[in-house]
């Protein structure tokens, strides 16, 4: 991809989940690590929406946090517009301004003691983009951009419903004029009719300001609606990356296929959901080889030993030995 806005290479994050030192000594236990992400690589082009999907525990949110610098990667590189941003404290403010985040729970992400105007002004003032008076006017303008009223600046978050709060969170994210917004489950806490409003708003803003999104979601239909390209995560690894709509029409990886089969069908095509056996294994002791092999209908000997590497498929990339074998045959 020529000149991607965000490039993630070999991103890995391990968490130390060991018992306290004394317990380890007494029980003769070693340290334990949970690998939340292993060797994740993807690129996001300017103006596109890249979505990461996966079930709980697949490491979606850990990636989001590493990308915006809330967590340090254990290994790997994150490059934003050609500059490394995984180096922690060393990220220049001018670069920080250019990416923002929208969180899942609008009841937790807005400070209940701050007025809405102050919440929206904070990034502007922190980055020193405007003076106090200009920032106030900007906050009022942004509230109108996201479909609220300019007079709402003096209200507190508790005076708003969930959907309206998420609009405030979006206004705050927009206030530093970012190019790139990481949206971590932006509509999961909302009702469907409100979800539709927020998704439509996100699209309108993307067109208006030329935004690039990294969208994290567990909801496949939301992802299908929003994304230009999609990455599917399983147990911390990226199993497939593909163009948006084609992932749904021609899924390659067996896990992607399973996930699509499991989605309840509103279209009432009469399709019986295929029974999927098993659940996501414990990430502290993932199965050897391909992490999906215990649930995979196509698994063979090699899957139990070797971790598959991503290979090019007609619609993108997928990491699967069975696909490789089928290709050779």
């Amino acid at each position: 991809m020529p000149d991607p806005l965000l490039k993630v290479e070999g991103l890995t994050r391990r968490f130390d989940v060991s018992k306290p030192w004394l317990n380890r000594v007494i029980e003769r236990d070693g340290k334990q690590f949970l690998t939340a992400n292993a060797d994740v690589s993807f690129e996001i082009a300017r103006g596109e929406t890249f979505a990461l999907v996966g079930e709980s525990g697949s490491g979606k949110s850990t990636i989001a946090k590493m990308v915006v610098g809330l967590l340090q990667p254990s290994a790997g590189k994150i490059t934003f517009d050609g500059q490394r941003i995984d180096a922690g404290a060393g990220i220049p403010r001018s670069l920080r301004r250019r990416f923002q985040m929208i969180f899942q729970d609008p009841f937790a992400s807005l400070n209940p003691r701050w007025r809405v105007g102050d919440i929206i002004c904070e990034p502007i003032l922190t980055f020193g983009l405007m003076n106090q008076a200009e920032a106030r006017a900007e906050a009022a303008r942004l509230l109108e951009v996201v479909g609220l009223s300019a007079t709402d600046v003096t209200k507190y978050p508790h005076e708003f419903s969930g959907g309206q709060r998420q609009r405030i969170a979006i206004a705050r994210a927009l206030s530093s004029k970012p190019e790139f917004i990481v949206c971590d489950e932006p509509t999961s806490a909302l009702d469907v009719s409100v979800q539709a409003q927020i998704l439509n708003l996100m699209r309108d803003l993307q067109d208006e300001f030329g935004l690039t999104y990294l969208l994290i979601s567990h909801d496949l239909s939301v992802v299908r609606h929003m994304a230009t390209r999609i990455g599917v995560l399983y147990l911390g690894r990226l199993v497939e990356v593909a163009e948006g709509k084609r992932l749904f029409s021609e899924p390659q990886h067996p896990y992607t296929r399973m996930l699509l089969d499991a989605v309840p069908d509103l279209a009432l095509s009469g399709r019986r959901r295929r029974r999927v056996d098993g659940e996501i294994p414990n990430p502290i002791s993932p199965p050897p080889g391909c992490a999906f092999h215990p649930r995979c209908p196509l698994a063979f000997d090699r899957c139990r030993v070797d971790i598959p590497q991503p290979r090019t498929t007609p619609i993108g990339r997928a990491a699967c030995h069975a696909l490789e074998a089928a290709e050779r045959a």
Binding site: D191, S193, V194, N200, S221, A262, V263, P264, R273
Partner: protein, 335 residues
């Protein structure tokens, strides 16, 4: 499904549930009526605050005080259960009506093994020996798909994963062979791949035992796959009921139509989702007339003044909307 001869298993008529607060009485449910036939799966949908869970809670007599049933009646096989004394209600709850709640971790007691909880429940409701109860419990766990049930029955709830725990809860709800199971968001806390398994178990096992199911959820996909009929709630009132296929594909009520259009699907080609402006009114600010009128693009004068009740539309469908009887709306308005 609707047979004129059969008597409904559960019949709810004009149910009103109120919560007195310092700032006046809030009506969480306002004249809600519906029936569930024996063996039927009724889906109850609506957005948060629409009154889905309160409906379930009032049927099993578990409304938290100071909330109370302020009007209407609930009949189980013709017998009123909304005014039973707590003792009598306890014999209905669990025995004749089973419950599955959203969060399997809070509906199981963490201090008792699964065996203890199942055996206690079975012996509370049925006159069987401990050994017999245990045998039934193992068979039930096996039926809901817990591998090595005979061994795992002595595990504590925390030994099970979320999906397995929800299976245990289903077993618990079914162990006294109830006639009706109320499942309140049974899969909301689970991942999609596990969700499919749980819905299948719930549906199959209830069909097998002839138990009717009231499935409360905000997930239309789950309803579409599971329910025979669906009831749509809005601001504590019924908006529409009918066979699931018809309601989803050709909704009558403008709210239902908007709700269906706002859900992204895996096959749609449209670029924009239908969006209903605004949000559901708070219980202390429900507009006069139809509760949906300020958000409705088809609203006309009577909608702002007179509240529509459910009106039969044929084919087992009912809708509470003046668009389907403008003449009557006009009459009422003039009167």
């Amino acid at each position: 499904m609707t047979d004129a001869v059969t008597e409904p298993l559960l019949s709810v008529r004009d149910l009103v549930v109120e919560f007195p607060t310092r700032r006046g009485v809030l009506r969480a449910l306002d004249r809600v009526s519906f029936d569930i036939m024996p063996g039927e799966v009724l889906g109850m949908v609506g957005e948060s605050g629409a009154g889905k869970s309160i409906t379930g809670a009032s049927i099993i007599g578990l409304i938290e005080p100071p909330g109370r049933i302020a009007g209407g009646e609930i009949r189980l096989k013709g017998e009123r259960i909304d005014n039973l004394r707590p003792e009598a209600m306890r014999r209905v709850r669990g025995r004749r009506i089973g419950m599955v709640f959203q969060d399997p971790l809070t509906s199981l007691n963490p201090l008792y093994t699964v065996a203890q909880q199942l055996i206690e429940t079975i012996r509370t409701h049925m006159d069987v020996s401990e050994a017999e109860a245990r045998k039934r419990a193992v068979a039930l766990l096996d039926r809901v798909g817990i591998p090595a049930a005979a061994r795992r029955i002595d595990d504590y709830p925390h030994h099970f994963s979320g999906g397995m725990r929800q299976r245990v809860v289903i077993a618990l709800a079914l162990c006294a062979e109830p006639e009706l199971v109320i499942a309140d968001e049974p899969t909301t806390a689970l991942d999609v791949s596990v969700q499919a398994q749980i819905i299948e178990v719930l549906k199959d096992i209830c069909a097998e035992r002839g138990a009717a199911v009231m499935l409360i959820t905000h997930d239309m996909g789950v309803i579409a796959e599971t329910a025979d009929r669906v009831a749509v709630l809005y601001a504590g009132r019924m908006a529409e009921t009918g066979p699931v296929r018809e309601v989803i594909t050709e909704a009558l009520h403008p709210y239902t139509a908007g709700l269906m259009g706002s859900i992204p699907t895996l096959t749609q080609e449209t670029d924009r989702l239908v969006q209903i402006p605004g949000s559901m009114p708070r219980l202390d600010a429900i507009p006069p007339g139809c509760a949906f009128n300020p958000r409705c693009e088809h609203a006309f004068a009577p909608c702002r003044e007179i509240r529509p009740d459910l009106m039969p539309q044929g084919g087992g469908r009912e809708v509470a909307c003046w668009l389907y009887d403008p003449a009557k709306a006009g009459e009422l308005r003039d009167a």
